[in-house]
Symmetry: C2
Subunit: 244 residues, 2 copies
């Protein structure tokens, strides 16, 4: 529509032998149309309706929120998170924990891109940070590359949200939610805040940075307060320690 209107307007402006001759009303209409098209384009861009690279996307989305509560105050199951910023995968499998691990799955953990950007620039988890933990079964334990742990099937989904506005009474303003239903294998569409003694208390006691286990997330440690660039673009890495 945008494109068509521009072409139409351009035709009105084609010079003829007497120069730019144009009915005044038509001309006025064209100006208004062109301006409204421009304004519309600008608005759509501001709303993120057009494509953009990640950096610019982040710049224009400074206050974009990636979580939403329903009218019962439950977190609506996050979507599209497999394109958020991945931060790490801890694994504490059953076979290393007497057959009954507290967390037998592999956990793929993501942070929303805007909060990653803010963490990178300020070193803080912003108001509105959402971290998603996707539960994946341990699949193979033997491959051509050796013995170990390989991701199997998706099982569940959990999330934590930091918001003083929405969770003023939660420790650190972090609320944790689970959408998992291990019996049916069907995720819930929304989930209430988990009692803080079930999850948050352990995060409070043992996590390195504001209830987040950054000690196990090098992506976050590398990003914390890094600034505007991308930590992965620097060549410096750790030197491997030979343990055995």
């Amino acid at each position: 529509m945008f494109h068509h209107s521009l072409v139409l307007s351009a035709i009105f402006l084609l010079p003829n032998k007497k120069g730019y001759k144009m009915n005044k009303t038509l001309l006025s209409f064209t100006v208004i149309a062109a301006l409204s098209i421009g304004a519309n384009a600008m608005e759509k861009c501001a709303q993120g309706k057009y494509g953009g690279d990640t950096k610019k996307e982040m710049k224009t989305a400074m206050t974009k929120s990636y979580y939403k509560l329903n009218d019962k105050g439950e977190l609506i199951r996050p979507t599209d998170y497999r394109t958020w910023v991945y931060i790490g995968t801890p694994v504490t499998p059953n076979d290393l924990n007497g057959g009954h691990a507290a967390f037998p799955e592999m956990h793929n953990v993501y942070i929303d891109p805007e909060s990653y950007k803010v963490y990178k620039e300020t070193g803080k988890f912003r108001e509105g940070t959402i971290i998603v933990k996707e539960l994946v079964s341990v699949g193979a334990t033997q491959a051509v590359s050796g013995k170990g742990y390989f991701e199997g099937e998706f099982l569940g989904l959990e999330a934590s949200v930091k918001s003083k506005k929405d969770f003023p009474k939660e420790p650190g303003n972090w609320a944790i939610f689970t959408f998992s239903d291990m019996k049916t294998g069907i995720l819930k569409d929304s989930a209430p805040v988990m009692p803080s003694d079930k999850c948050v208390s352990c995060h409070q006691a043992s996590a390195s940075d504001d209830f987040v286990f950054t000690q196990y997330y090098p992506v976050l440690r590398a990003a914390k307060g890094f600034g505007k660039g991308n930590p992965e673009d620097t060549a410096k890495r750790a030197i491997q320690k030979m343990k055995k």
Copy 2:
């Protein structure tokens, strides 16, 4: 600049008591300015110079390439990949492999977002697919959550690229590169194609889908041929099997 010009143009159009009165030359100028602003905005949007959500970004970036070779035909070290699409983390640690694992690190693996989108829609790895493997040391092996493997420090970086144009002689047109230097801990800025018998041959023999070990990457299995939406938005998950 865009915004200022629009405001300026709008002032010219403010109705006065005699209606829309405006010098013809000025009016023509305004039309042209408004149109050029609109066209400029459209062009910038098409080029991805404005913010956008991921779906639209992908739509406009249909042919965007995420890898670049230098004049020696070496792959320039990829950048910004921690915001690409994460696909999985296999771990085959030393302590499960007699102290000498072939791949002792945890491997965080990412695919470029455009190739993820094409894989999601067509089920194929497109010409120009780049997959990056970030090598992370095994850090802690004991945490409050139990015994297991937790990511430590970044050690190295490898990549594979599928391109018939650039690698016509490689099996499956996949070329593999390593930027790692485990002695210095400093990644190389560019890397030559690895001899195909060092990596590609094993991928050819054992990987499930076109040299990629999708059997260990549920993100890719869920995405393969899924279509336009996001596989993670569906509620269906697997049901946990109790092994022990």
